[in-house]
């Protein structure tokens, strides 16, 4: 699979990673190289094979419905780059 500039730009937009125009070609090359390499997996016959989910624990544990967390708004926003009082601030979103 060879990725072109546009596809790389689309993925970058989806991943919210700013990629400059100048980087698109080199990234397309690198990503294509990696994808070409992983595509050897297609040679494996996996008919009837279940995909692995949960390598160790066979089933998720369940916890009791008890409130013993929260009540720490200060700690929650303590690392925020733009805390507005107890809120997180972000650039205005127009809906």
């Amino acid at each position: 699979m060879s990725l072109d500039r546009d596809t790389v730009a689309d993925i970058a937009r989806l991943a919210r990673i700013n990629v400059s125009d100048g980087e698109l070609d080199s990234l397309a090359g690198e990503l294509s190289q990696i994808l070409n390499w992983v595509e050897q997996l297609n040679s494996v016959d996996t008919k009837g094979v279940e995909p692995l989910v949960g390598v160790g624990t066979a089933m998720a544990p369940l916890r009791q419905d008890v409130v013993n967390d929260g009540g720490q708004a200060d700690a929650v926003v303590s690392n925020a780059p733009d805390a507005v009082g107890p809120y997180f601030g972000v650039p205005k979103v127009i809906e």
Binding site: L14, G54, L62, R63, D69, K92, V93
Partner: protein
Amino acid sequence: MSNIEGRDGEWEMVIGLETHAQVASKAKLFSSASAEFGGAPNDHVAFLDAGMPGMLPVINQRCVEAAVLSGFGMNSIINLKSIFDRKNYFYPDLPLGYQISQFSDPIVSGGWLDIELEGGVTKRIGVTRLHLEQDAGKSIHDQDPYRTLVDLNRAGVGLMEIVSEPDIGSAEEAAAYVTKLRAILRYLGVCDGNMEEGSLRCDVNLSMRRLGDELGTRCEIKNVNSIRFIREAIEFEARRQVEVLEDGGAIVQETRLFDPDRGETRSMRSKEESHDYRYFPDPDLPPLVLEQSYVDELRAGMPELPDAKKTRFVAELGLTPYDADVLTADRDNALYFEAAADGRDAKAVANWVTGEVFGRLNKDDVSINAAPVPAGELGALVDMIKSGQISGRQAKEAFEAMWADGKPAQTVVDELGLSQISDYSAIEALVDQVMQANMDKVEEYRGGKPKLIGFFVGQVMKASKGQANPASVNAMLKAKLDG
């Protein structure tokens, strides 16, 4: 009439609903922060809910239980193995950068609900699935001129997303479906059904087609949060689509928003960007595996649901289907009625509940759980009528007083000095007194005017200041006048 008469023929609505019902749990789906509505900003937030590095989800058993019970309530299949997936997208109210939801393998599949339509008609609406997922936080756009503020109190609260089949054919059916679903969830105690607080909200998928045609393109109206709005949104959207189609246009598949102030739907441009959610199983959560015995235990502990209760009220308590319907539509009403009717004449109690109690609740705009007259006291009042201690009219007077200050029936009756004279000799004295004073009427009666009995009853009751037992008075007058 559910179809729409267009310029050149009839159009049919095809509606499917996605309902988000908040699980009535104390803590969130994957964290132990409070799931309670409200709270100071970012106060109900664990570090997981804020998407802090290294924080991990652990499933709340109560949410699983709610999903299983709801599945039984909708005649569904409970999947003993289900998977939590990540739905990836960026938004400030989505702190992890993904919503933990169930995509390919939900906990509940299939099922149906019967809805009641006008004229006692029942229609079966298919349920596609129910899955568990996290709610998002709240973005506040109007508090700061330059910024959107984010409060994560809602982030991670457990939701059940219930998806219907596109079996719904009108606004009325949609309203009946949501009403029924809400009733079932409330009966099960798994969702408080409070639409104002957003505990229950609907996405409406609607398309139009000419009778017998293939399915048309649908639009999704997001987050409609009252049954009235659901009706209004559907009616507006159906007409809009018919207009577009009849003008030769095409419906664009899109997400729309219902504006209750203007009674219209409009395109949500901000959600226009095509999404690629990149679902994949959440590697932080092994499969959710339920033991059959656990599921069986939940099934065994299921409360009686509205349909079954209604049938029983008619068959065993002798209520009319109408009263049974009214009394079972809401769980709390039904429980109140059952508590009040326990060991008594159910029909008499039903009349009191549907009449006086519902009337006052409506007038005062309070819920049954806040009624100042507890079910037991209503029952005690009905008992006093039955035993003849007070008359029906007195009971209504007593009920008003009980409602006003919440005192027990006996206290109110004592305080007001209400008591029906059923003492034989006391009534006899009054009857004799009235007959003496109206000998002319007695002659008339005996001369062939039996209707005058009413006059005598009235006079005796008046003389007793309303406290004589009308049945006893009637019987005694009849005996004396006829004798």
